[in-house]
């Protein structure tokens, strides 16, 4: 088998039907970019979960004066020091709890101003309209229910809020979007594969004279098929490299510069370059192997050996 012979045939073959080669390259690039993108999105969600689940806490909000007037949970009035003391000692006895911090109304007011200082509501608020709260860090964030059952409905407790629950909603949304992206990717992949099969079919047909002669002269099946498979692999690889390019550029423009989300959304910890770089070999390998396999099976159908 002569490598040079095969390589020159690849170049000729790809150029012969440039439009179809282009279509294969683009469809592979898009589907693999989506694939990489959704992998990165999963990574991102996992990173955020890891970061935030550490920081979230269960909050027990205590009744203040305005709650006492409006909220049915606080029908018995604003929280008393006794009740607060009771809550605190109960909390200290619970083994599922890692730590407890108390936030006073002044502190709550200060935090509110920091986060929402610009909103029109902030200027009209006063500290005693804020709620006191106990911020609880659980050893196992899943054990929210324990706190809820223990403290919900107690005198002086306005509500028990699980911040993790809020985050869960966000993450579910993100993961849902990811699934949608994967569905689109699957469709694109099918399109790419069908394009490859069709390209190989047309290519095999237009070269039937040469392949016929090769067959009669005793070339092995592998030798006859190799140019087609390698054409598909090379076209796929170019698509794969494009997909990698998309991902790298995407991260650059979305996160670092351009939209610069990492500066604007400081709450979110973004995945690093290493997350992107580790995906690249997988994408390149897929872009090489998948078209090669597709071409192989297309040849079995459309090329007589």
């Amino acid at each position: 088998m002569r490598a040079q012979f095969v390589l020159s045939e690849i170049g000729v073959g790809l150029r012969r039907n440039l439009t179809m080669t282009f279509a294969v390259v683009v469809s592979v690039a898009l589907s693999l970019a989506l694939f990489g993108g959704s992998l990165l999105m999963s990574d991102q969600v996992n990173t955020m979960k890891g970061y935030w689940y550490d920081k979230v806490n269960v909050s027990i909000f205590l009744c203040n004066k305005s709650d006492a007037e409006s909220d049915p949970n606080c029908a018995k009035g604003a929280v008393t020091d006794d009740q607060k003391g009771q809550i605190k000692s109960d909390l200290e006895k619970m083994t599922v709890i890692d730590s407890v911090t108390y936030e006073s109304q002044d502190e709550a007011y200060k935090h509110y101003k920091e986060q929402f200082g610009d909103s029109p509501l902030a200027s009209s608020l006063t500290p005693d309209q804020m709620q006191e709260s106990y911020r609880i860090k659980l050893k196992d964030p899943e054990k929210y229910q324990v706190i809820a059952t223990a403290f919900n409905g107690r005198d002086g407790v306005q509500s028990v809020q699980d911040q993790k629950g809020l985050l869960d909603n966000l993450f579910e949304l993100l993961e849902g979007m990811n699934v949608a992206a994967l569905a689109v990717m699957a469709l694109m992949l099918i399109v790419a594969l069908m394009l490859i099969v069709n390209t190989v079919r047309v290519s095999a047909f237009s070269r039937r004279r040469e392949t016929g002669i090769m067959r009669l002269v005793g070339a092995s099946g592998f030798y006859i098929q190799a140019p087609f498979i390698m054409e598909a692999a090379v076209a796929g690889l170019i698509g794969g490299m494009l997909a990698c390019g998309f991902l790298l550029v995407g991260r650059y423009f979305l996160i670092d510069h351009g939209l610069a989300l990492s500066e604007k959304l400081t709450l979110i910890s973004f995945i690093g370059w290493d997350a992107v770089l580790t995906k690249l070999p997988l994408i390149l390998a897929t872009s090489l192997l998948m078209p090669a396999l597709a071409a192989f099976f297309a040849l079995r159908k459309y090329l007589k050996v």
């Binding site: 002669i213 002269v217 099946g221």
Partner: protein
């Protein structure tokens, strides 16, 4: 070289079988003409020898191997030991004469050095020395067929199969081609040639095998073309 044992071949969806119970043997070094009207089964016979088709019944032995037992991926190896020449020459139009002949050696993995030596040699043999860089489109029919013969012969096969090689050629050129094939036969290569060409068969007086409607009707050493029923 070739042995047919009660071989029959029927193509699907056709009423009449292409070959019916054909048994014959071709020995090494023979020159055999295969004659018969169109549809008599000549091409089918050759296709069976080349393993382009498989026999419906009976055994086909080529170069000592039972073709039915040979697995698909071993077939190319057998074909490398055969040379084939066709009526329509079957040259690659985008390659030069030398490249066309070299093709047969490239696909079996011969080194460039070997090819550079053997191609001019075989082109001289067929009388095309000096025409290495011409394209098939620039050559006459006779010259193109010589290129095809050079390609078939360059690997020194034991058996040369020719399917109406003079079919597209004028009588005078045909004679030239036949002389070439005769010379090749005398080097020890077995030649089996299907043909319509009455004059050639009559002139050369080699073994004649006649097929009619798929049956072997005549097998005559030093025979003539004419139907002698």
């Amino acid at each position: 070289m070739i042995r047919f044992d009660n071989v029959s071949k029927a193509y699907p969806k056709q009423n009449r079988p292409a070959l019916r119970d054909v048994s014959l043997e071709v020995e090494r070094g023979e020159f055999v003409f295969l004659v018969g009207s169109s549809g008599s089964g000549k091409s089918t016979f050759l296709r069976l020898v080349l393993r382009e088709e498989r026999a419906s019944q009976g055994q086909v032995h080529v170069l000592g191997k039972d073709l039915a037992r040979v697995s698909n991926w071993k077939v190319p190896q057998i074909r490398r030991q055969l040379g084939t020449v066709f009526q329509d020459f079957r040259l690659l139009p985008n390659k030069t004469v030398a490249e066309n002949v070299a093709f047969a050696q490239e696909v079996i993995g011969k080194s460039r050095g070997e090819i550079r030596k053997s191609v001019p040699q075989v082109l001289d043999l067929v009388g095309l020395g000096g025409k290495e860089d011409r394209m098939p489109g620039e050559l006459s029919g006779g010259e193109q067929q010589r290129v095809a013969i050079a390609r078939a012969f360059v690997n020194r096969p034991k058996l040369l199969i020719c399917d109406e090689p003079t079919g597209n050629l004028d009588p005078q050129t045909s004679v030239g081609i036949m002389k070439l094939l005769d010379r090749i036969n005398r080097t020890g290569t077995t030649v089996v040639m299907a043909t319509h060409d009455q004059n050639i068969v009559d002139q050369m007086r080699k073994r004649v095998i006649e097929l009619e409607q798929g049956r072997l009707v005549r097998d005559q050493a030093r025979g003539v073309y004419g139907y002698q029923h």
